[in-house]
């Protein structure tokens, strides 16, 4: 009954939004990660306002972590620009460096946890310390996924699969990694002001 009403057209529909669906989905995923940390940091604030809060020194190592993750983001961005310009030699160097700095971040975070333990701040005990571990730990867990993504891009770039004609994964990885770096800076400043 409806077939007569069909409007026959030669070409296929246009995508109403220019953004690639996978990229868009990545941004939505980033929103969910933001909501988890929004929940954690608000819980931190609400709990802190209740009093009975352990005051402790922020581990010095966290400054190093912060610098490392910023540097890692810069390396990755260098890689991104190199890929866009088809400078594949630089891309490989940049990807290797960002993977190394990404892994180094785990090292400094782990050392920071050690410094916390030395200062007598434990996971089990006053919620002040517990929050510190949960927030940094949860960020670390997301960073694991980020580093895996970086390694994936590194391998693809060694196989010459990342170049100006094939940027989707590179762009998504850059977005995600910059987000995780930005998230850390937010968390660091938050903890610095509220610990």
């Amino acid at each position: 009954m409806m077939a007569e009403n069909y409007q026959l057209v030669e070409k296929q529909p246009g995508r109403p939004l220019a953004m690639h669906p996978q990229k868009f989905a990545l941004w939505l995923f980033i929103v969910t990660v933001m909501m988890i940390f929004a929940a954690m940091t608000s819980a931190h604030i609400v709990r802190q306002a209740d009093g009975n809060w352990l005051e402790y020194e922020m581990p010095q190592m966290l400054i190093v972590s912060t610098v490392i993750i910023v540097v890692s983001s810069i390396f990755l961005h260098w890689g991104y620009i190199s890929a866009k310009r088809d400078n594949l030699g630089n891309l490989k160097i940049a990807m290797t460096l960002s993977v190394i700095t990404g892994l180094a971040f785990f090292g400094t975070q782990y050392t920071a946890w050690g410094q916390l333990v030395d200062a007598g701040v434990y996971f089990v005990g006053n919620p002040a310390g517990s929050f510190m571990y949960v927030i940094t730990g949860l960020h670390g867990l997301h960073l694991v996924s980020g580093v895996i993504y970086l390694i994936y891009i590194l391998i693809s770039s060694l196989r010459y699969k990342v170049h100006s004609k094939n940027m989707l994964n590179m762009e998504m990885c850059t977005t995600y990694w910059h987000f995780l770096g930005g998230l850390w800076i937010y968390l660091y400043i938050f903890l610095l002001l509220n610990h």
């Binding site: 409806m2 009403n5 409007q7 057209v9 669906p21 819980a43 352990l54 919620p127």
Partner: protein, 630 residues
Amino acid sequence: MATAEAHIDSHDHHDHEHHKGNFITNYIFCTDHKVIAKQFLITGIFWAVIGGAFSAIFRMQLGFPDADLGWLEPLLGKWITPEGKLDPEFYLALVTMHGTIMVFFVLTAGLSGTFSNFLIPLQIGARDMASGFMNMLSYWFFFLSSVIMFISLLIETGPASGGWVVYPPLSALPQAMQGSGLGMTLWLVAMVFFIVSSLLGGINYITTIINLRTKGMSMWKLPLTIWAFFLTAIIGVLSFPVLFAAALLLVFDRSFGTSFYLSEIYIQGEALPNVGGSPILYQHLFWFLGHPEVYIVLLPALGITSEIISTNSRKPIFGYKAMVISMLGITVLSFIVWAHHMFVSGLNPFLGSIFMFLTLIIAIPSAVKVFNYLTTLWRGNIVFTPAMLFSIGLVSVFISGGVTGIALGNSAIDIQLHDTYFVVAHFHLVMGSASFFGMVAGVYHWFPKMFGRMMDAKLGYVHFWITFVGVYLVFFPMHYIGIAGFPRRYYSFTNFDAFSGFTDLNAFISTAAAITFVAQFIFLFNFIYSIFRGKKAPANPWRSNTLEWTTPRNPGHGNWPGEIPAVYRWPYDYSKPGAKEDFIPQTVPFSQTMESNLPHENDEIALEKEIEEMVVDETGEHLEHGHGAH
């Protein structure tokens, strides 16, 4: 299902989109959104039977406390005491699991999972979801979550028992009650997988609606179902991560000894080491999800209702934009009213007033929606299909449940009525029954598209009238019990003199509940029977405008043989003055309906050329077939 699916290949010669696969790739690990939708639906129905049976069992305890329940022993084993009574701890497990199952597994996964998956690609004109693989993962995470939750029903210490909200400290201390042990652990693990499933689904729904609409399908031409699913998915993506955070901290408290929610607790005279936590913190985190969850459950039902009421009134939906804007309003407001669940938690009364004010504002968009349903029905040529009856039923229970919401939203009244049966009555009408009606209406309405066959209408009418009357008989009297002050979740009414006067009323409610529950098997029979033996459905059984009815009777993977149709008009051109038929599908350009065009629509004819010229590559697409449906 197998016979129905096999049918396509013999019947539809143009179905080159349908890739033949084996049973496993076609029905189990399938990336086709329609199959995934059916998987969600059937799993949801499975859970609905269990959740409903639980309520029937605990209603028996409440209505007939002296009855001998020994006959349930083969089913419940040691949960029936030697005296033939229901074990009190198991009673608590039953109410907890009834809530958990109904809210999450039936009305979130079963409703959103089914209809978002099924209708989004079909109604916006897409081949499938943005990521079919993620969509498949979404179902299988839900399945995993279901399996874990189901196992928790069978373990020796019983499932979680601290209420579906699992407030600490009850839920945080394994020694607090039997159900707080392994049952609670499994509950949390199952919910983590459930959250993953919801997020995968939600991200996919939003991306698909934003990115994959067919040409001409602007946001303002979307059917209201799609708007509802879209906003539901946004709510889910924003609120489920917060539940995840709450659950994570609870896991740490339970298993690692932290004190996020625990402070200064004595158990059997002995102090626990936990100091410095706050159980109220959990309530804040939980209700930041918990309240939006109400709308995750409700909005899809409202969207389905809009579509069905407009189609079966043969009238355009009244106030399309007002409908969208009120849903948007509900979406925004749903995030800033959570503390109205916490008026008795020692909340600052000033803060309470703010949350009260915001809560009462929700009455406005809700009332707009109700008004628009009624004005759509007003003087329409109403076709009373079973789906239409359930949609009208939804409007009815939404009104009667919503009115008490205005009362409960006031902190002064809420403090009196908090945790009484008044609250139970309120949310079972406005959220539980309304969403359930929407879900059932959706099944009746889209069954022909899902399975290519019709459900039996007469059985549908019987199902509707028993359910509709039954729901009121169950929940209306509960208001009185609640006003009298009887608290929810209590094992027995008869232990207190003040409430023994309600024994008859409770017996009445329980009887009505049992009848209503049994009546659902009419639906179940109708559903299963019609899948295999139902009358074959015509292409457009309800004479509806939306795109899904332009697909073949049993659409293959890819939905449309040949090109996806373009869209020229909104979905609600019913009974348009001057038109030949009383409906004009969205695929009919204005240039073909000169007799019924409004002046501003004549201007849009010039734009049709543009719509037709839109290009985008859809790789792997064949163009040799001109015609869509047969």
